[in-house]
Amino acid sequence: MKPPAFARGLVRLFSASEDRAFLLEDLADRFGEVARTEGLRAANRWYWSQALSVVPWALRPDGDLIRRRSRENHMETLLQDVRYAVRKLRTTPSFTAIAALTVALGIGATTTIFSVANAVIFRAPPGVSDRAELVTVHGTSADGSSFDSFSFPNYLDYREGASGLTDLAAFSVIAMSLGGQGDPELLLGNSVTHNYFDVVGTRPAIGRFFLPEEDVTPGTHLVAVLSHRTWKRRFLEDPAVIGRTINLNRSPFTVIGVAE
């Protein structure tokens, strides 16, 4: 039978280091006696009352403190506490293992969540400059609902008449089958206006981005810019990919550049 852990922690926290070990052992001995004579519940109640009695003594303003706050002893006290904690943890390997696993899971989950949030929310995507000045445009319906899909003619009108914006680009997410070299692979790509990369503020790693005349007439200039990740993974960062023909949804496209 062991005294309640939180109550023990309270005693440990508010008692002076020089007496802590003796006090804890005396309390444990008496706890055992009470448990044997009056039962475990009574012993727990007794221990809690003893632990709580430490606090007012420790906080007495007249200098008669259980715990002396000496700047010179802080490090020594800390080291004693660490050594005591390690000794105690070694005597309870199962509890130590479970506690360590619980802490590890908590740290892992927190780290993972923050990493995702950092990448998606806090940190700008690679190659994007002036993130604070990059905005997305949404429309509002008559019923007050928001939408972010526009027809291409509407986009052209907005681009002509938009005030307060340096430029306006459009994109549409498309699932694509990439073929032509190696096994076909399903990717998510974007069909974009020629000024997309200028608006985003990125630069080509190799090659070039789109020209104004390449998005005027649909189907006449089938050109593609690879993402850096795809270029690295699928094409092994081969600079000779520029000018190569790849199949996107069974249509031949010429690779003109790779984004940063």
């Binding site: 003796f22 005396d26 001995d29 008496r30 003893q50 009695s53 003594w57 008669d64």
Partner: protein, 106 residues
């Protein structure tokens, strides 16, 4: 006379329990003496604090004693002459105050 020579109520209880044990004793033993003699299950941390305070006043002294066989290391306290004097003064004080009151105060 300095207030340091007079004992508080709990100081008297702890010091008397230590005196009754007639020799060096550690916190738990003093607590047990108080419990068995008075029926009061006092706070063990309070016993420690009181002993520490009386040690600073020079009424008791302590030594850390290693276990002789099968026991544990304890901090044992013993009464110093100043502690005995303080007990004696406190007893005289209380007896003077109780004098003439009978079994129950009015």
């Amino acid at each position: 006379m300095s207030s340091r020579n007079y004992l508080g109520e709990f100081e008297q209880v702890v010091l008397l329990a230590l005196a009754r044990l007639r020799g060096p004793a550690y916190g738990a033993a003093i607590h047990r003496e108080i419990l068995e003699t008075t029926g009061r299950d006092v706070s063990i941390p309070a016993v420690y604090v009181t002993l520490k305070r009386m040690e600073r006043k020079g009424l008791v002294a302590s030594d850390v004693t290693a276990p002789s066989s099968g026991g544990r290391t304890t901090r044992n306290y013993r009464i110093l002459p100043a502690g005995n004097d303080a007990l004696a003064r406190s007893r005289v004080l209380l007896e003077r105050l109780w004098d003439g009151l009978g079994a129950e105060p009015a």
